[in-house]
Symmetry: C2
DNA sequence: ACACAATCTTGACACCGTTAAGATTGTAAC
DNA sequence: GTTACAATCTTAACGGTGTCAAGATTGTGT
């Protein structure tokens, strides 16, 4: 691992982390393979030993961000003793929005492209489902079942929940949005107001 | 207006329409000044006589799309005899989502950047507010007032309504979304389910 | 007829993603 | 230890991009 000539040692991960740094510093639109390579001190074509294309690197960075996102969501409900309390869903929703308010650059990056599978239906294949929505599904189904909700209504309700928090995150992370209240304390009121 | 040498005649509008065509045909990411110029039969630098930058052209195209969008929203409620019927808000919401389902390319384009002002609060300056949200505001306030809703709750409710339909549009226009039902007939159920 | 401003072209620059060809290095087999 | 091989990285080049400077063309008003 000497003074790194040629072999970097851990270039793949370094490229991902440099990409994260670039997105945070200059925004999603400023992410480029050449800048990321330069940040890692390698030539412009070096990334192609680890990624097939820029989109491939973006996918890897996206996965990296989603892992962080999932940690936040899971931490937000791990203290709930009663896993059947509807408050659990509010907690998750609140943290969904706050994650992107705290990292506004991540929102257009995570949702810019087409790269993730989403299964909105309650039946069907969930194996490759977008992890945050899959988490909502698995947590919401038992809670709503206990409330006596039909399967049809349940599907609508779960989509509605995701749409609300996702839309709120989208709106709150827009650049020229003026809101004279504190998101952290208001999100809950807004979500409830359905 | 002969056989257009040099002076095109209506290049500014032609560039905007060519941009629209390009977005519909190849997607937002494929929009480029040079392609748009080529579509209009002018040189690569010609657009700079009418737009300061690519972003400036994008803003003009965005305005053009938003005008179409506003026509759809206004048409969706012009037949409502009772302007105080809450159904009016559902109608608008449904058409908000359907506009982007019918034109999926427009969603990432209209909401990609930072160029529009948004005032979420009920007070404050609405003169340059994002027109679709401003329309929702002006229509929702009298309806919710008649229902006896407080101003504080009203603000939350209006934000919540926008978030829900906006999130629904965002989700429905994602590329790899699987939904085994018809959006047109289900949107209303999903919105109601709050 | 002239002057001027608006409009458009040509040519260049830096940056970008991507590829081909080849150089360097770690590793496993002998 | 030497040798072969695969992985990794570099250099050089291609076409595409936004942008700017210089100058050519044209409509318009004096």
């Amino acid at each position: 691992m000497q003074n790194r000539q040629y072999h970097h040692g851990d270039l793949r991960n370094s490229l991902i982390e440099a990409g994260i740094e670039l997105i945070n510093r200059e925004g999603t639109s400023q992410l480029s393979l050449r800048k990321v390579a330069a940040l890692c001190g390698v030539s412009q074509a070096a990334p192609y030993s680890h990624f097939q294309s820029k989109e491939d690197l973006q996918d890897a960075i996206r996965d990296y961000v989603i892992v962080q996102f999932m940690e936040v969501l899971e931490n937000s409900i791990k203290d709930c003793t009663d896993q059947n309390n509807p408050r659990l869903l509010i907690q998750m929703g609140k943290n969904y929005v706050m994650f992107f308010i705290k990292n506004p650059q991540y929102f257009p990056f995570v949702f810019s492209q087409q790269c993730m599978e989403v299964n909105l239906s309650l039946d069907g294949d969930d194996t490759r489902n977008f992890p945050p929505f899959q988490l909502l599904k698995t947590k919401a189904v038992p809670i709503l079942s206990k409330l006596g909700m039909s399967k049809e209504k349940m599907e609508d309700a779960i989509i509605s929940m995701w749409a609300t928090v996702h839309g709120l995150a989208s709106i709150a992370t827009m650049k020229n949005v003026h809101y004279n209240k504190d998101w952290e304390t208001k999100i809950e009121d807004i979500i409830w107001n359905k």
